[in-house]
Structures are given as C-alpha cells and as structure tokens.
C-alpha cells in the first residue's frame, strides 16, 4: 500500500504550506494525525490537492487512491510515494 518510510520534511513543509494558503487552514492544526474531515476538507478538496501536488512536483498521483485518504499523514505518504515512483 502506501510508502511507510519517513517522509522528507521538505515535502511535508510544502504540503503544509498548501494547506495553509490554498485551504486557509490555521498552521497549528496541521499535525500528521489530523483527520482531513476535521480540517474541513472533503472529496472535492482532495481533487484540488491532487492537481496541486501533481503540478508542483511534476508527478502523477493515482487518482483512485484519493478516496482512501483519511489523515494528513495519508496525504504526505501519497505524495512521497508518487515522488519516489517518478524518480
């Protein structure tokens, strides 16, 4: 399933920046265990997130995995997995 290796801190930072600027989420709420739903994000936001991550890192994320995202850590893992696959 998802890559369980520790995620590159700079990748985490970039995703947190996206959450703060693109979705206007207060930075203090951006902890790995935060549930996306609790952050006010829904499946439509997940699509925007996918588009942003793909464009920012020049990678392809498997679209169907979006539905399984629950926490911020899941987003980190999905992005990290896509980045490592593209290398």
């Amino acid at each position: 399933m998802l890559n369980q290796d520790p995620v590159d801190p700079s990748l985490i930072q970039q995703i947190n920046d996206l959450m703060a600027s693109g979705f206007e989420i207060p930075p203090e709420k951006l902890v790995p265990s935060a549930a996306l739903k609790e952050l006010g994000l829904d499946s439509l936001d997940a699509v925007d997130m996918l588009v942003y991550i793909e464009d920012k890192f020049g990678i392809k994320v498997e679209g169907e995995k979006l539905t399984s995202l629950r926490t911020l850590q899941d987003v980190y893992n999905l992005a990290a997995e896509a980045v490592s696959k593209s290398k």
Binding site: S21, G22, E24, L44, G63, E64, L66
Partner: protein, 501 residues
Amino acid sequence: MSHHDALIIGSGISGLTSAALLSKKGKSVLVLEAYSRPGGYMHSFRRFGELFDTGAHYVGSMCPGQPFHTLLNYLGVYKPEAFVPLNPDGFDVFHFPEGTIRLPMGFDRAAQELASHFPSETAAIKSYFDLIQKTVAHFPTYSFDGDADMTRSLEALQTPLTQVVEPLTQNPRLQALFYAYCGLHGVRPEDTPFGLHAIVVDSLIRGPMGFSKGGDDLTKTFVERIEAQGGRVLMNRKVVSLVVNGDNVSEVVTEKGERFTADWVISSLHPKTTFGLLTDDSRLTGLFKDRVRQLPESGGMYAVYARAQGLDWDPLQNHYFFDTSDPKEMFRERGPDEIPAMVFASLSRTSSNEGGKKVFSLHSASPYKWFERWKDTKYGKRPDDYKAFKDKLTARVFAAVERYEPGLAAKIESQVSSSPLSNLHFNGSIEGSGYGLYHSIQNTGARAIGPRTKILNLLVTGQNYLFPGLLGASISSLRTCGHIIGIKPVLEELKELGERS
C-alpha cells in the same frame, strides 16, 4: 417566482439531456437559455437558402444498440428520419501529401483498409484498434456498465495518446493517421487523454451518422419531449447571478430581473462563467478559484459555409485535409499567413446536395488572439478591417483544400464565414473556443472539475466537465443527473434498452 425540482442553465445538448432525463424521472424542470433559440452548438442557420450546421456535423455510436443511439432512444428523442448513415465504405476521408485514406465503418473493415496502406504495420493496426475497444468498456457512461472498472478509465485518461501510439508503430505516417481525429477536439496528440480518443474513434468507426435535417431538428425534438414531460425551456433568459445563501444557491436571477428557485441548479456554462455568477464565493477555496482561473481554453475555429457547383464530393463523407503528415507538425499552431495544417470539411446531409450542387462547411483552427482586437465590436457591425482579415483567412482555407481539390475556389457560388468572435456571440464560449476548455490529460479524469461543487445544490454539466462534442456533452449529463436521481438504475435501464435494440 416559481419553484422547480431542477433549474438548468443553458440549452445546449447537455442542458437538454439533463432536462429530458430528470423530467422523464418525474422531476419538474426549467431550462433557462440566454439566446433567442435553444440548442447551443446544435444551432443550424440559413444563408443563401441553404441550411448549415455550426457544430452538429456528424456523430458516432448511432447504430441500434450503440451508446448514443440508446441514450437518445432512452430520452425519447430518437427519430430515425433525423439521421442518415454516412458512407460505410468510407465515411471519413483523410488527405495527406502522400495519399488519401478512406476510413470504412466497422473495426474489421477499418483495420483491413489501413493494412492495405501500411502492409508492414498490420500488427500495430490490430493492437491499436483492440486497445480502443478494450478501453471504452471501462467507461460506465459509455458502456452503460455501472460496474465498469473506474481505475482503468481513470488510468486511460491519464495516459497521453502519443504514449500509446509510439510504442505500437514507428511509422510517422501511420502515427499521423492515428492522431488525425485530434482535429475533432483541438487537443494535441501529446496532451490528448487516450480514454477520450478511444471513445471518439470507437463511436465513429462503429456508427457514424449525419443529421438529415440539421442539429436544430434534434434540439426541437428535445424541447418537445421536455415539454411533453411537464418541463419548460425559456429563451432570452440570460442568468446574471446565482444567489448563495448558506451552503446553497437560493435563487437564480436573470437579466430581466426574474428570480427562480429550485432544489437543484445545474449549470452547463463554462466553469469560469458559472463560478463567476455566485453572489458569494467564500465556500470556494483559493486553490480551486486559482485552478478555474488558470484553465486553458481549446482553440477557436474559423469556418467557411459555402455552396459550390460542379464539385464531385459524396454528401455522405467528411474530409480531413492535412498539409503535412509529420505527426509533430500536424497540430502545431500556424500563423494567419500560413496554410492551415488541417481543414475539416463536412457536407450538408439535407436533400440540398442534388445534381452538381454541394453545400458544405470548412473548419480550421484559428486562435482567439487573431481576433481579440475586434472583441468589443458588435456582431453584424464589425469593421472593414475585420472583414478584410476574414477574406484573407477564407482564401487560406480554400488554398489548403485546393492542394487536393484543384479549382475549388472557382466553383464556389456563395460563401459566408464565422470566427471565434461569432462563437462567443452565439454560445458565450470563453475566448470563442470551439470545444470549451482544453481537454488535455491535465484537465480530465481525476483532475476534472465537477459535476459536484462546493455549493451543495449546484451541479455542473457539459463538455467542459467530461468530454467535448455532442456525445461527450450529452453523457456528461448522465453523470451530473446521477447525483440527483442515482446513476446505477439509469445505467441499468440504458444497458437493457441497448441490448433490446
């Protein structure tokens, strides 16, 4: 003020499909159209006594049991006399500098014909057609299979056409032929989602039909059906705002100041237009608004509508005139002083093509930027330099065709032309684009916008949210309306009807 189950903005084929489907399911529907006539890209018009179509040139998968035939039949708008089968021995004729290829109907015949032109590529041709047929089966709103494997369709929409074709054949001429239909949606082969391409090719090869009475006739049938089911279609009702109250659109306001309410609002307008109508867009995130703002548009079209005498064209064929068979050059943007890389010719299928008389339209890519300087001038009152520029473009379109049809210009009796500005005037398409937003892998599949939005009762439909063209726009409404009436039962009924046909 009247209240409806669903208010539908725009009366192109997606708006009309939504209205016909929802009213069939017992919902009260009202369609609001800005223009004085319904139909959007299905508009026909008369000039010098001839009937021309702006967008309804031909459509695929129209034989009994095939998707579009089944869908129109299901919606109660299929009339056999409105359609005419194109020439089964060659419905599309592709002209390249090295020779002409006629594409016959049916995969076996098409493969045979292509193999006769490319004898050493028989395996590549077979693999290509096999892949197309396998791929389309994964699209639930095309195969009408509610259990279709969506991971496969999403994957096919993430895969560029070139990435499928290049490993199959190194022959640039065969590659060019495989890419030729990109002219139908204006997306370059390297950006074209293979899934979209597969549906275009599959539908055309299996069931190509023309409109024997023009696109207006299908529009009329749709409107009659919607009205028979209790719905209404109102003209001259330009929507100027969607009043947002809490999580929902509470009112739809027209230019005339009328206010309508509905449980659901379906907009078939471009996303840039739709989301711009919201009185309060604070439910949209900055990221989403940026995405919408940055969506690229498909190119504009320059069209010449003409009547000629003594032209030996079969009314039941279309022609694609390519100036090059170099796959890297065939969809490169060219300047107004160059010959167009491709011209698409579609003949009128009405009974007007008798004797030596031929009525047809010629379409070529023409970016909006060529016309932008006249954007503030009014339709019908544009200045002389605009007209002079159009004359120049008409001459270059004729020149592109004359390479294969010498003496064409001398055979023209009457002609009139349209530019992206005309399209902007009649259809309100952003930058006068021919196919809505640019349907690249960047804007399709998992990355597409809609059909749901952050405004809970606002859904979107039409070619901008799924695929371009009459078929794409129409099936996008299945997906959209599925959020109101449930998609699975509709797909099951469609499947059953298709199997019975």
